[in-house]
Amino acid sequence: MTATSAPEPTVTRTDGAAGGELAVDVRGLGRTFGSGTSATTVIEHLDLAVPAGQFVALLGASGCGKSTLLRVLAGLDGGVTGDVTVARNRAVAFQAPRLLPWKKVWRNVVLGVPGATRETALAALREVRLEHRADAWPGTLSGGEAQRASLARALVRQPDLLLLDEPFGALDALTRLTAQELVRELWHAHRPAVVLVTHDVDEALLLADRVLVMAHGRIEHDVPVVGDRAHGSAEYAEQRGRLLGWLGVHDGEAS
């Protein structure tokens, strides 16, 4: 079975509580899959620092290594080279909600939290407006509800670093808008550092302080999000056009 785990990753942990520190500090990261002639290098000489409380969006085309980077930050990838230091207190929300189907929603939320009670779970579920589904089986939740439960599960750990791996990718357009709004709200309320992996430029501009564009195994562009985030503003259009250009989409053909 798969629990015969890979060796614990070579991740040193800081005590993320200290203010003004880095939630993510990556130096010279490399990740190669396979060996010999069939070796594929997915990440090479990558440096990244994310200060506590910052919301970073990680953009990139499929296969550029952004999900691999997120897995490294989550401590799920043991085969890396380089120095990786991340906040000890971190939580992950995956693209699929990955709730345990045999545990009720509230038990999923507090799974692995020492000393947590039903009240703890309910408080977190209230924040994502899912309190009424606390006793439901995950299999009966809609896609949006399941994703909110997964967010509540991340939140309840009061992370200093929240890692989001395309958490809205599988949601329909309307549900996605609500979920994005919710993430923004939660970030304002709790102020964790966030690394959001996405391939949606609008989502990145809507949520993040800073956008990273990854290509060829490294971070090619690293820009702050500035000015008016409202759709239709000149600044928004300009940033959007530039990001899309970096991702290989030109002429603004996407509306």
Binding site: M1, T2, A3, T4, S5, F94, R98, L111, G139, R153
Partner: protein, 297 residues
Amino acid sequence: MTLTARPVEAPPGDRATAARELPVERLTSSADRRRRFRVPRAIARLSGVVVILAVWQLAAVTGRLPRTFLGSPVDVARAAGHLIADGELPAAIGTSLHRVLVGFALGLVVGVVLALVSGLSRIGEDLVDAPVQMLRTVPFAGIVPLLIIWLGVGELPKVVLIALGVTFPVYINLSAGIRQVDPGLVEAGRTLGLGRLGLVRHVVVGAALPQLLVGVRIALGVSWLALVFAEQISATSGIGYLMTSAQELLQTDTIVVCLVVYALLGLLADLVVRVLERVLLPWRQTFTPDDAQGATR
């Protein structure tokens, strides 16, 4: 929904097209459809059985079916009445049930332990899996002669035979269940701070339980089969003994009674598994109703 025909008016500007009838059809059932009396389905499904019983009885009454070949349904019922009244049948059922329970429990424990050893560690898998897979291909009933040599003809070989039959389906299903745990859930568990023991407790057990119950269901069927074989080993009590002694006296009706008892006990075992599934897997009922999959036996 009711669709009714309505003439489609030609648009006012287009006078050349005259109003015409659009062909429509009514999709909802009309109220005046005749309601005929119907035999309830449950009763209708019994009709085949009734016909067979009637023909069987008729054949016996007309003398076409000698009693020494096969007793009539009425004979069988009478024999059952006698066997129950003098306590012989309840005692036999008790003995047989006891054998199955002990053998089943033994086989379940061995199967579960082996599956855990093989499923939870690489070394365990290397050590356990290949030998078990090899032994599995031996038809367990073929071991009877060896069991008699080793263990004599008492209760022990009977129980061991049943346990052997039970161990393999439990092992195969549970170890497969453990290996098929969704790696995504294991990963999620790790990010939630679960250690190895926590992963087994919260993730592996939950994921493998449905498969274990599949194994248990198959094993219960097998244990009944094993019981029939086991009780042919010079038994002096139990349903199998009842049958063997009836065979010597050509009491076909008693043999049929025993067969019916075997069938009923098998049915009961199935019911037990269904109840277990309902109790242990409440989360599954929402999307995999067991009844939709049909009978598995």
